[in-house]
Subunit: 286 residues, 2 copies
Amino acid sequence: MTATIGYLGPKGTFTKLAVDKTFNGEVKHSYSTIPACIDAVNNGEINIGVVPLENAIEGTVQLTVDYLVHQVRLPIMAEIVVPIQQHLLVHTSFTGKMADIKEVHSHSHAIAQCHQYIHQHLPNATLHFTSSTGKAAELISERKGEPVAAIGNQLAANIYRLHTIQKNIHDFPNNHTRFIVLSKQQELVKIAHPVQSEKTTLLITLPSDFAGALHQVLSAFAWRKMNLSKIESRPMKTGLGNYFFIIDVNQPYDEVLFPGVKAELEALGCQVTVLGTYPVYQLDHL
Amino acid sequence: MTATIGYLGPKGTFTKLAVDKTFNGEVKHSYSTIPACIDAVNNGEINIGVVPLENAIEGTVQLTVDYLVHQVRLPIMAEIVVPIQQHLLVHTSFTGKMADIKEVHSHSHAIAQCHQYIHQHLPNATLHFTSSTGKAAELISERKGEPVAAIGNQLAANIYRLHTIQKNIHDFPNNHTRFIVLSKQQELVKIAHPVQSEKTTLLITLPSDFAGALHQVLSAFAWRKMNLSKIESRPMKTGLGNYFFIIDVNQPYDEVLFPGVKAELEALGCQVTVLGTYPVYQLDHL
């Protein structure tokens, strides 16, 4: 059986780039929103869904986390980490210099990520916002001979046959974006890259808002020397003043430490849900 | 002197709506990206900047926080919390029923926030993505007599003279968005609303990644019974494995408790920076 993979589209986005680099041979379907992709996995329409978890361009942590927490609980099967690399793309017919460029098109967050570069090297260009970086590349591909550019990734350059006039124009060199792979069928999730580390993501809700509650929660991990790589509080949607926490623990779920943490936290009145225990894959280049 | 306020535009966005409801009489300038708005405050081009801090549509926590932490340190003078209310908007010439609507236009995150509503009430509509909710409203205003709709807020409906065919179509009733007011000139920040609470935001960097480091940091707050309303870890841009924390403490900076926390954490090798101690304004309706 060939697995089907859904991803947050359209084509030419970082999500598509990550899916193409990670999976081979599966049938791929594009979805236009994060909830639509998650629903499709839940309904059995597709086997695997890939959505951004931390990515300032194609999605937000909040939307993915909130939908998983409040609407559809699907296990996280893997995490894919990729560097964000933004390039300046022009039509192949463009023969001018960088300073000649009059318009720069991209998603507003991609433009923001290249803010200082644009300020220094493209001071005469006006900024134009598109719904995605892929859309910007498409637009530039239709403007032969004009001094206009898009900001986007290598995949967008390839799809729309654009010339990369300058590589890596993003202001911060160590920007990464994280994707999660959701599925109910672990046996179908086949990733050929080496596993970089293993992680467990927990959802913890506190019984009430009180001084030191989080401190007590962290004690359960600290005295076991379980290292956390991420912690984030998010308000519950039920009203103001109620919070849940998403905690990433840098080790796989086991039969001793994690059940111990869970029992202690439940005794304190917390609810503990395992959102996934899964391998992390780091892609160095795209 | 009349203060000048910069905000993340374009017109018809939630940021503009929040600025209009919060400030009166000041001169207002729209900026197209978060870094451009923050730079303008830093350069003295404007007196006050308003940017989203937690908002799935017009910006991300990450972009604002990263720019403030890594590039331009400006004090936070106030926080504005507003409910997210999405409406279904049509041209005033539209006389059909909801089920007749063939196209829905909006920012992908706004469409995602109304995912279940669209699924139930607009099953025949195709989805079209725009760079902002304001842009979607503008587009619909130009399509007289056609069965097309935009998702956006009341301000967008007013500016583009659209008819609100259905109010509050967002799936989660308790979604809020938070904006921060940045300025070097406290005396110019005049907000007429009642203060809901006071808050202090700290940036804490850990000396290294070790089990229990965050637990130790939180001890300093816990034994003083200082309540935290938000905690978020973010990777430093200097490489993998280094983190900083943004912590919101539910009380104003004082001369005893905060200096005590700071001294203890510095003794542990942490760096502590006060990003702001400021009032919170909650707007109930827009």
